[in-house]
Amino acid sequence: MSTATATETTTFASALNTAMSDAMEADDSVVVFGEDVGTLGGVFRITDGLTKRFGENRCFDTPLAESGIAGTAVGMAINGMRPVIEMQFDAFAYPALEQVFSHIAKMANRTRGRVRLPIVIRIPYGGGVGGVEHHCDSSEAYYAHTAGLKVFTPATVADAYLMLREAIDTEDPVVFFEPKKLYWSKAGEDLSALRQQYESSADTAEADSPRVGPTGNAKVVREGTDVSIISYGPSVSTVLKAAEAAAEDGISAEVLDLRSVVPFDEEALVTTVEKTGRAVVVAEAQGFVSVASEITARIQERCFHSLASPVLRVTGFDIPYPAPKLEEHHLPDVERILDTLDELQWED
C-alpha cells in the first residue's frame, strides 16, 4: 500500500496498477490476464506484482492469441468473473476484433440484458514514444463505432486510477485506452486519497463526481472564454500546453477533456461551445471518419447558432502511422494547434 503523503512521484502506470490491485482486493471475481502480464508484469509493467500478490489464479499469462484472450474473457464473464484483459499494443488487439464486435459488444442486447459481460479490455494506445509499426495506432474510433461498448481514455494520473476502478466495476464492457506516452508521467496524486475518493463516490454523474457514469461526465480542465478546445487521452496534455501559449497571444482557451468517448457527454460539449462560440477538436487519430468528426458534427447540430467560426479539427493525417523518426510530423503538436486557432474567424 502506498503511503498517505502526496508526492510528485505517482506515475500514470502506478495509478493503473493500484487501481487493478484495489479492485482485485475488493472483489474476488476480478481476474487479470493477457500476454506477459504474469511473471513479467506486462511489457509496460502495468500489472507488476499482481500475480505475486494474488496468485496465478487471479493474474495469469495466456497463450499468445488475442482472440483467445477476448473469447475466453466472454466465457469467464458469463460464468461470474470480471475479467480485465490486456491487449499488449493497440494494433495487436485486431485479432480479437471479432470477439469484441460480435460478442462482447452485443451479448447483453442479444440476450435482452440477461447476460451482461463486465469485461475491461485494456489497450495501450497512441504514439509519441518512438514505437515501430503496429505499436502506435489510435484505434478508438473502431470501438466507439460499435454499439454496446463503452470507451474510456484517461488523460491524467488521477483519472487513470479513478476511471479504471469504475471500468472494472461497471456491468457493461469497457474498452480502456491507456495513452502509452503518459505511462511514466507523474503527478502529485495520493493514491490512498484517490482510493477513498473513488470508494466514497456514488455511482452517479453529479457534476463534482469523478465517475464517468451514464453521461460521460467530461471535465473542463482549463477555463477560458474565447474558444473551446475539445480533446481526450494523449492529446489533452498537448492541448493544455497550446492553451498556455495561446494565452500569451491573448486568446483565452477553454479545454474540455472528454474522458469517455462512450458514453459521450454532449451536454458538457454544448455548454462550453455555447459559452465560447468557437471550437477546435484535437485528437491523434486520423481525422477521416473519426471521433473528432463525430464531435464536430454534434457541435454543428447543437451549437450552430452560437458559432462565430467554423469548427476546425487538428488530428493525425489520413495515413498509416508513420515510422518513428517521422511521427513528429504526423502528431498534432502545440504549433499545429496554435496555427489552427489562428485560422478561426476572430473579427466580429
Binding site: 469467464m76 460464468n79 460480435s102 452485443k106 460521460g216
Partner: protein, 409 residues
C-alpha cells in the same frame, strides 16, 4: 552439471498437460500417442440395419473403450430423437409457410443433437451453433424460445444462465472460446463443470477453433469439443477444408485426445460423448470428438443443394438414418414395441403442434425495446433516439401508441 544438449532449458520444459496425458494413457496401458490419436476406425456400435456391431469390430480398444449406455438412457435417447426429427420437419414446414424467416435444419444429424443434450449433467454447459436447435430443445429449453431468433423477433429468446446453454452462435467457432472461459471460471472456483463446445466441419478452418483447443489444453479445463462433420460447409465439401487424416486427428497437435464416431449411430454417439464428458470431468482436461454425419437438407431454405451435390449421395445417406437404426436396434432388444412407438410419436406430435400453434400467433414485439439492452443505463443519445422512435410510432399508429412516457407500453 546437466548436459546442455539433452537437459531441457528453462522455458522448454515439457508442458504439464503432456504429463497429464502421459498419466492418463498409462492407466490404459498405452502410449500418449495411442491415447491422443483416434482409434484405427470410426467408433460404431450399430450397423446401418440397426444390428449391434460385434465388439471386436466396434473400433474400440485400450484407451478407446465406450460402454453401451443403460437401457433407460437408450430409450430416452430414442424418444428425444423422434421428437427432434419432428421438430426439424415442423420448422422446415413453417419456413415454407412463411411463418419463420429461416431454419438451419439438423435433419439427419439428430443423433448428434440428442447425444449432445443427454451427455451433460444439470450443472454443465453447452455452447451450440445456429444448427443446434434440437440439441438446445433437448436440453430443456422451450422450443418457442429457441425459435424466436429464426422467426425474427429477437436474437436469442432464452436465458442462457437458466439452462446453461450459450446463445446459439452464428460467427463460426467463436463460441468455443466462450466454452473454454466458462470452464476456466468454474475451475478457478473449484467446480467440476464440463462444457460441451459444438461446431461443424467447416468451422474447424477458423482461427478460433485453433485458439480454443490450444487454450483449453494449456489451461487444462474440462471442455468436450464436439464437431459435427456433416460433409459440407454450405456448398464446400470437407476436402476443401482440411487435409488432415480426420478432424479428430487435430487433437494430438494440441495435446488432447481425439476420437471419431459414426454420427448417425445414436448408441455410439451417446457412448463416446458420455465417456468424453466423464474423462474431461475426472481428469480436468479437454477432448475432441468428431461425429461423421450428413446434412440431409439444404444449408437453409435460401440454399440450393442441387448445385453442389447429387441426389444419389443424399439417397445413400438416407440408408444410414439415425432414427431407423435406433428403432430397429431397440425393437430387437425388446425395449420398443408398437404401443411404446405410438406413445413416443404422439408425444413428438404434441411438441410439433404446440410449436405450430405458437408460431402462428403474431409475436408482440415492442420496437422501443431495441434501445433497452445496449447498456445497463441508456446513454443520452440512445434515450433521444428512443424518444424519436416513440414519437414516430405515435404518429403512425395514433397518439400514445408507443407512449412517450417510459414503460407505457
Amino acid at each position: 552439471m546437466d548436459d546442455p544438449i539433452t537437459s531441457p532449458e528453462q522455458g522448454h520444459q515439457k508442458a504439464e498437460q503432456a504429463s497429464r496425458i502421459l498419466e492418463t494413457s498409462r492407466t490404459f496401458g498405452i502410449s500418449p500417442e495411442q491415447y491422443m490419436l483416434p482409434a484405427q476406425q470410426q467408433i460404431r456400435m450399430l450397423d446401418p440395419d440397426g444390428s449391434l456391431v460385434p465388439e471386436d469390430q466396434q473400433g474400440t480398444g485400450p484407451g478407446h473403450e465406450y460402454p453401451i449406455p443403460e437401457d433407460d438412457v437408450l430409450l430416452k435417447a430414442y424418444t428425444t430423437l423422434v421428437a427432434g426429427r419432428r421438430i426439424n420437419d415442423q420448422n422446415y414446414a413453417l419456413v415454407r409457410q412463411g411463418r419463420m424467416a429461416v431454419y438451419p435444419s439438423s435433419h439427419g444429424q439428430e443423433a448428434c443433437q440428442v447425444g449432445a443434450a443427454l451427455c451433460l449433467g444439470e450443472g454443465d454447459w453447452m455452447f451450440p451453433t445456429y444448427r443446434d436447435s434440437v440439441a438446445v430443445i433437448s436440453r430443456g429449453v422451450d422450443p418457442l424460445d429457441v425459435m424466436v431468433s429464426f422467426r425474427g423477433d429477437w436474437h436469442c429468446g432464452y436465458d442462457p444462465k437458466v439452462y446453461r446453454v450459450g446463445a446459439m452462435s452464428t460467427p463460426l467457432t467463436t463460441q468455443l472460446l466462450h466454452a473454454v472461459g466458462v470452464a476456466h471460471a468454474a475451475k478457478l472456483r473449484g467446480e467440476d463443470t464440463v462444457v460441451l463446445a459444438m461446431c461443424g466441419d467447416g468451422a474447424t478452418s477458423e482461427g478460433d477453433f485453433h485458439e480454443a483447443l490450444n487454450f483449453a489444453a494449456v489451461f487444462e479445463v474440462p471442455v468436450v469439443f464436439f464437431v459435427q462433420n456433416n460433409g459440407y460447409a454450405i456448398s464446400v465439401p470437407l476436402s476443401n477444408q482440411s487435409a488432415a487424416p480426420s478432424l479428430a486427428h487435430k487433437a494430438i497437435g494440441y495435446g488432447l485426445a481425439g476420437e471419431q464416431v459414426d454420427g448417425n449411430d445414436m448408441v455410439a454417439v451417446l457412448a463416446t460423448l458420455r465417456r468424453a464428458v466423464h474423462l474431461a470431468r475426472e481428469n480436468s482436461m479437454p477432448l475432441l470428438l468428431e461425429a461423421v454425419t450428413y446434412r440431409m437438407q439444404a444449408h437453409t431454405n435460401a440454399d440450393d443443394e442441387t448445385r453442389y451435390r447429387d441426389r444419389e449421395e443424399v439417397e445413400q445417406w438416407k440408408r444410414k438414418d439415425p432414427l431407423l437404426r435406433m428403432q430397429k436396434f431397440l425393437t430387437a432388444k425388446g425395449l420398443l414395441d408398437e404401443a411404446a412407438e405410438t406413445q413416443i410419436a404422439a408425444a413428438a406430435e404434441e411438441v410439433a403442434a404446440s410449436l405450430r400453434q405458437a408460431m402462428s400467433a403474431e409475436p408482440e414485439e415492442d420496437p422501443l425495446e431495441i434501445f433497452d439492452h445496449v447498456y445497463t443505463e441508456p446513454t443520452a443519445q440512445l434515450s433521444a433516439q428512443r424518444a424519436q422512435l416513440a414519437d414516430e410510432l405515435d404518429r403512425a399508429h395514433g397518439e400514445a401508441w408507443a407512449g412517450t412516457e417510459e414503460g407505457t407500453r
